[in-house]
């Protein structure tokens, strides 16, 4: 009984912190329309500022916490709103989510740049002595955390209920359009809500880190998983249900740790509990919730370019690009590192292409493509080493192994749209990572298994040509998809699913097909990725990388084959172009990402869109020159 009470108490304490955090997340989402996946990274940054003030500079803990929560965090939040999110109002949800992924990378990069990627310990604000309650020994710090979290929620509730500003905020939470009509200053409200949300993130970090460790790589995904899970309990709408969700997840976690002496796969359940809760809640969400704006489709509004290049010209440019790529091993001479960098770039391009056909052509979304990549790579590894199959056969079977998983997500996409589908695919990546890739039976004791290159393509140059051939095949498949009947059905589904059904199209079939096909293409990319270094490592397929892949695909250009190739090469060649220093690499990638993300608000077709527009202008210029050169000659006649 004593253990039960202690567990209950620990659960409520941890839960109250998650509750506070998820309230902050939902508040910002409802007022600004941005579901901030970078929330965990924001908490990380604030915790490190606190650590710097209190531990390095020796400020009193209390003073440091107050300064961070009440001064630093609100300023950072308001700045984020002014510099970034204010400019993105009205952008489609996929762009908004990608910006928050960019924010995540940026903040985590800043932390690693400034403080390094070492794990730090943060002292508790409160004495850690214990007192006896109901016969259980309970830490005073735990009681204090509970009081602060509940107090924070109470202050928020009172603020929302009784102050003029709070009422304006609540009006925006309930209905943004109407609040705008009634003269609520939405700019002020959105800056305020970002400030408030960031304060909550700071509080979360400062309260949680004494119990956990201040780990720049692990803290953000840990926090975001619990915060998303809790927020989904209120379906991203209700603040009080989001709070209750936090407590619920805290309790589930505490009881699983206390009573679940599971081993192996079952032991992983504790870590993915939030995502299991999230999946179940989203899958069985009532129709009214699924049809809200959060569930609306990811149709990206693009100002279509009226003077589209004729198909012949596009194919010619493509042929030239592939021709140059085919000569590349000769061009780079004996430089193995350059050859491998370009190989990696082309492998990336295959993965990006799988996102182009899924999101660009079909309006669907996946934030979990690493799951397909990993399933394929590990399956291939085991078919070769365990079952002794020829590498070519294992390659094919491994890629096919991801198709059922993709088709399953496709079936889920029949029920879910937009943000909910995106979160579901993200949950899928986390669950796959924990249940499969992290198991020693899958990724070995050392977390890495051998994936040999196929016979005939063992050498670096031969392997390069294999990758190039696969990319060419995927590109042709994508073009064939876009220009044919299947592509028209998918585009129709993207623009109006209602009308597509009314025309006699079986939407279930086509969603299964496109997710299956995209998963297959991603899987081929995953296997080739492993073959570059001849090993599949569980750290290669972290769910976080799924987010990075989508971000880079959007930056490259999500609507064209060319965009995937541009993004792939850029990402692959980056280390060669900008030096080898890991830290500088991160920072440069981040700055590049943020710059490009900001540019996206103006140019949703990405770098490729800009290139093509530039090419079109150049072509027009040449034509004008030529006609001018001809014109005088004709005049005398």
């Amino acid at each position: 009984m004593e253990i039960f009470f202690r567990t209950l108490f620990i659960g409520v304490v941890a839960g109250s912190v998650y509750a506070l955090a998820s309230t902050g997340l939902v508040l910002t989402y409802r007022t600004s329309g941005v579901l901030n996946l970078g929330y965990g990274a924001l908490a990380l940054l604030m915790s490190f500022v606190h650590w710097q003030l209190a531990v390095v500079w020796g400020w009193p803990l209390w003073l440091s916490a107050i300064v961070v929560i009440l001064v630093v965090a609100p300023i950072v939040g308001a700045l984020l709103d002014l510099a970034l999110f204010r400019r993105l109002v009205g952008q489609p949800p996929v762009i908004l989510i990608i910006c928050t992924v960019g924010l995540w990378v940026l903040l985590q990069g800043i932390v690693i740049f400034v403080w390094g990627s070492e794990t730090e310990t943060v002292p508790s604000l409160f004495p850690t002595d214990t007192v006896g309650i109901f016969g259980a020994r309970i830490g005073i710090d735990q009681i204090a955390i509970l009081v602060i979290a509940l107090g924070g929620a109470g202050i928020l509730a009172a603020f929302l209920r009784f102050t003029k500003w709070g009422i304006a905020l609540r009006a925006v939470v309930d209905n943004r359009e109407v609040a705008g009509l009634m003269g609520v200053n939405s700019g002020l409200v959105s800056a305020g809500s970002w400030a408030l949300g960031t304060s909550f993130a700071a509080m979360t970090g400062i309260l949680l880190t004494p119990q956990l460790l201040l780990d720049p790589n692990l803290l953000p995904p840990f926090i975001i998983s619990f915060v998303l899970g809790a927020a989904i309990v209120g379906y991203l709408r209700s603040l009080s249900l989001a709070f209750a969700g936090g407590i619920l997840l805290g309790l589930i976690q505490a009881f699983l740790i206390q009573y679940g002496t599971f081993r192996g796969i079952l032991g992983s359940i504790t870590r993915i509990a939030p995502f299991l809760v999230l999946s179940v809640l989203i899958l069985f969400a009532p129709r009214s919730v699924r049809r809200t704006s959060a569930g609306s489709s990811f149709v990206v509004r693009v100002r279509e370019v009226a003077d589209r290049a004729p198909p012949g010209a596009a194919m010619m440019v493509g042929a030239v690009v592939f021709g140059v790529l085919a000569l590349l091993p000769i061009l780079v001479g004996g430089s193995v590192s350059w050859l491998l960098a370009v190989t990696a770039g082309l492998v990336n391009a295959i993965v990006f292409l799988s996102l182009v056909i899924l999101t660009g052509y079909s309006g669907q979304i996946s934030l979990g493509h690493t799951a397909f990549m990993g399933i394929a790579a590990f399956t291939t590894a085991h078919l070769v080493s365990g079952a002794g199959m020829p590498v070519w056969v294992a390659f094919a079977l491994g890629a096919l192994a991801a198709v059922p998983a993709g088709a399953l997500i496709g079936l889920i996409a029949v029920r879910l749209h937009g943000l909910f589908l995106a979160l579901m695919t993200l949950a899928f990546a986390f669950i796959t990572q924990e249940l499969f890739f992290n198991q020693p039976s899958v990724s070995g004791i050392e977390g890495s298994v051998v994936v040999p290159r196929p016979p005939g393509a063992e050498g670096n140059a031969a392997f390069y040509y294999l990758v190039l051939a696969v990319l060419a095949a995927c590109a042709l498949l994508a073009v064939s998809l876009r220009t044919g009947r299947t592509g028209r059905v998918l585009a129709a589904m993207r623009d109006s699913e209602t009308a597509t059904r009314a025309l006699g199209i079986n939407v279930v079939k086509y969603k299964t097909i496109i997710f299956g096909l995209s998963a297959f293409m991603g899987a081929v990319g995953g296997i080739l990725f492993a073959m570059i270094r001849q090993a599949a490592d569980r750290l290669d397929f972290l769910p976080f990388y799924s987010l990075i892949y989508v971000t880079l695909a959007v930056i490259g250009g999500l609507f064209h084959v060319g965009g995937a190739i541009v993004a792939g090469l850029l990402f692959g060649l980056y280390p060669k172009l900008f030096g080898q220093n890991e830290l500088m690499l991160d920072i440069q990638l981040i700055l590049f990402g943020v710059g490009a993300t900001l540019a996206l608000a103006r140019e949703p077709e990405g770098i490729f869109g800009e290139l093509r527009r530039g090419g079109g202008k150049l072509l027009a210029l040449v034509r004008r020159r030529r006609s001018r050169a001809i014109a005088p000659a004709e005049e005398p006649a």
Binding site: L477, R485, A491, A492, S496, G504, N506
Partner: protein, 266 residues
Amino acid sequence: MRELRAEGVTVRFGGLLAVADVSLDVPVGGFVGLIGPNGAGKTTLFNAINGFLPPSSGRIRYGDLDLTDLPTWRRARLGIGRTFQKLELFGRMTVFDNLLAAAEAGTSRLDVASDLLHLPRRRREESKCARIAEEFMDLLGLGWARDRFAGELPVGTARLVELGRALCGGSQVLLLDEPSSGLDSAETKAFGRLLTGLNQERGIGILLVEHDMDLVLDVCREVYVLDFGKLIAQGPPSGLAADPAVRAAYLGEEDRGPSAAQASRG
């Protein structure tokens, strides 16, 4: 060609009775109007007929077929097409591609594998469907807008594209949901003539939901009147204007009419 019948259809939203025991009949080659004030349940009945909403009770029959348990896309394959009051065009596709996609949905037997692998069937099926699309594009006078994006068309043209899409899809019976909303009176008249032509020359059955009473009285041979989900009158248009129940339902409608029209435009 088959007759489309709704038999005792009831649709409930929670406690709200949206459509109450309505029976309705579109004979082969028939031209039937369905009128009633806002919120009378007309669109809900449409959704029940084409399968977007399962009725709480009642059957939808199509000749000797029972459609009630079939999904929307199967009903469409059998020849039941519809348009939408709130336009549902494929906005980022060209007008021609809108029609082509519809023709393919209706008649193409091209499987995904042959399509993606560029087998000879692909070209054959595509040119067959392109001919259908061209035919209806000419019939509706949409040739000038062929390569325009459907999302940028004026409402009048957009309504024609929606009609063309349903026709390319091989519809034998058309459910048209307020096709004249957003059109001026000249456009509405032309649209009415077009529908009459389709009905008389091609024998396509039409069920028309309309606010424009002139259009309904002009083109329909049989009219049903809904109010608060119930059928309150039925008959040829000439007799209906005098019907006391219809007058009662529509006196209020006269007041609401203009503001409702504005709301749907805004």
